[in-house]
Amino acid sequence: MSTSVLGSLRPVFRAIASVVVPEADRFDDAAWGELESLVEESLATRPAALLRQIRLLLRVIEWLPVLRFGRRFSSLDAPTRTQVLAGLQNSRIDRLRVGFWGLRTLVMLGYYGRPAGGESIGYKPSARGWEALG
């Protein structure tokens, strides 16, 4: 049995991630793999109920736009995807808002948690601290 949380929901997760962090839109498969493995590792020890909620939310985000736009989330253009996610972020329903906050946090963990994510924004820490500044 697969322990992957994202599994078959990778396409919608990547579509969401590309809106949350625009730079992710330029990712190749290797970079996506790195991002997703950080997400999977961070979820590995979390309760099964939380993992079910994440998968459910990904499905909701994928299919909810069909009601309004006639297309699944992963088939929408970038501005419309942004509109959908902004709706979740500002939802009057606590659970939707909190759920999206959690998903957004996972994307940011995957993107900025990679060493390359930090380097891309000029974050270059050194254990040597002041000495490393030269």
């Binding site: 808002r97 940011m108 963990l109 948690g113 601290g129």
Partner: protein
């Protein structure tokens, strides 16, 4: 299940457990057997990689993402040999006199807390950093505060040989921070105390501690446990619970003590915190140098908040900024230009904020923001924004607003821009460290879980020695006060050793 026996078992190795271990260690020379059981691993010096996600997975519960029951806040709880003292910034503040007086714990005086605090100020090398080691992120905070006429103060810190890696919250890669992992636990081990890492306590069964040793390496780093993997029943004459304000009450709840202790889990409080960001026109020294050198506490009594300098890592910063997409990324792209301020709200005990457990016995933290906390976070955000602008920031991110980006053109309007209604679950990233209460001290079971010596009411052999003892908010960074109280608990155990342990043991 394997059976072992000790005279004293200490559960947890942070500011509380590490201190108790050191203070009881002299009893080992009289043949008293003492063990510290620590859930997390003991890391080798080379294991402190400074990589944010990797270190967080190893050193924090749930990788730092432990959520309150309604998902409105994450709680930071350290684990490992040294507990949360591995991952704090070493900021060392003594409890204010008014706080200890307001706690109103019979038998606990401010003078005594201060005397014991001073002991650890000496022992853990607490001092002020010299001016030439203060980075621009901290200097700008001082500049902004002084321009506004605020009384900014420098944090004493407990470092020795700090190189300024700024990685304190991921564990110091240079072993400069003088937490219990560097001072008290090594002293305890030299005195004969055994420290069993990767050992999670499941429950207390009378005076038996039921625990499980994990053979897996958390995150693939750290030393293996000195005990073989498996379940253990550890017989003890005295048990001292030092698992922190979430895990200590949860352990006692799992051990079915709630029937005789109606206050167990109640009285939980913390410092809900926001990480606030201001952007300057040019890079500043921010991720080099000690991250937390100054604080502003002049608003703590009037508005219930403290501001502290801080510098966090890319993921922590990203999740703390509201929103997503281009506006969010625009702040992240100028990371070297960012100044950061940590806003801490000083929450107080509320009837509904408490620790419980779920069906599996895992801790559940019920916590809701009170109107007072929302006001504190709002006023604190406004004050921080003014400090950023006074320090020369070109724009500031205020998370609780319809448009979180405020440029300097609108600096005078920040009071109108910050919107209290955004402090609701899922809208703003609020994290809390400094978790307190749940096993509060007091006089009787009607108002507390323990007496002023940390002894659990009605259970003479069971003690608590950590931040869960606090009957209300400490309103400052708590570790020195935890150590002072743990020192007091340990002294009481030594004084009562003959009764508690039997035989000829005396160690007052």
């Amino acid at each position: 299940m394997k059976d072992v026996a000790y005279d004293i078992v200490i559960i947890g190795s942070g500011a509380g457990g590490g201190t108790v271990a050191q203070e009881l260690a002299p009893m080992c020379s009289d043949g008293v057997r003492i063990a510290v059981l620590e859930k997390g691993p003991r890391l080798r010096d080379s294991d402190f990689s400074g990589r944010e996600v990797d270190m967080a997975q190893v050193l924090y519960e749930d990788g730092g993402g432990f959520l309150t029951a309604d998902g409105s806040m994450t709680l930071a709880m350290g684990r490992g040999y040294g507990g949360s003292t591995i991952v704090y910034t070493g900021t060392s503040i003594a409890a204010p006199e008014r706080v200890i007086r307001n706690w109103n714990v019979s038998g606990l005086s401010f003078d005594e807390v201060q005397r014991r605090t001073n002991k650890f100020i000496d022992e853990n090398n607490v001092h002020l950093l010299p001016e030439d080691e203060i980075n621009e992120n901290n200097q700008l905070f001082v500049k902004g505060c002084r321009r506004l006429g605020y009384r900014v103060e420098q944090f004493p810190v407990n470092v020795k040989g700090c190189l300024g890696s700024s990685l304190c919250n991921l564990g110091c890669p240079n072993q400069a921070k003088q937490g219990t992992h560097r001072v008290q636990l090594p002293n305890a081990e030299r005195g004969g105390v055994e420290v069993i890492t990767r050992c999670e306590v499941l429950r207390l069964d009378g005076r038996n501690v039921v625990a499980r040793v994990d053979g897996r390496a958390a995150g693939g780093v750290g030393e293996p446990s000195p005990w073989a993997p498996g379940e253990y029943r550890i017989q003890a004459k005295v048990i001292v619970v030092c698992g922190g304000a979430v895990n200590s009450p949860a352990l006692l709840l799992r051990s079915n003590l709630q029937a005789s202790l109606p206050r167990l889990g109640h009285g939980f409080t913390c410092h809900p915190a926001l990480i606030l960001v201001g952007e300057h026109n040019k890079p500043i020294t921010n991720f080099v140098g000690h991250p937390k050198s100054y604080y502003l506490d002049q608003f703590v009594q009037s508005d219930g908040f403290i501001l502290e300098t801080c510098m966090y890592f890319p993921f922590t910063t990203a999740k703390s900024l509201s929103g997503f997409g281009e506006d969010h990324a625009a702040f992240m792209r100028v990371f070297p230009n960012l100044q950061m301020i940590l806003l801490l709200a000083c929450d107080h005990v509320e009837p509904d904020n408490r620790i419980a457990i779920d069906r599996q016995g895992r801790p559940v933290v019920h916590y809701r923001f009170t109107p007072e906390v929302k006001r504190s976070l709002t006023q604190g955000t406004i004050t921080a924004a003014k400090i950023f602008f006074a320090a020369g920031a070109r724009r500031v991110h205020v998370p609780a607003a319809s448009n979180p980006t405020v440029t300097s053109d609108y600096a005078d309007s920040v009071d109108q821009i910050v919107d209290e209604t955004y402090f609701r679950p899922g809208s703003v990233t609020v994290s809390a460290a400094h978790l307190q209460g749940g096993c509060g001290m007091g006089l009787t079971v009607a108002d507390s879980v323990t007496d002023s010596h940390g002894r659990v009411h009605g259970v003479p052999w069971l003690f608590v020695a950590d931040a869960s003892l606090f009957p209300d908010s400490i309103e400052i960074n708590p570790y020195l006060t935890i150590m002072a109280l743990a020192d007091r608990v340990a002294q009481h155990i030594r004084q009562e050793a003959r009764t508690l342990l039997g035989g000829g043991v005396t160690h007052a």
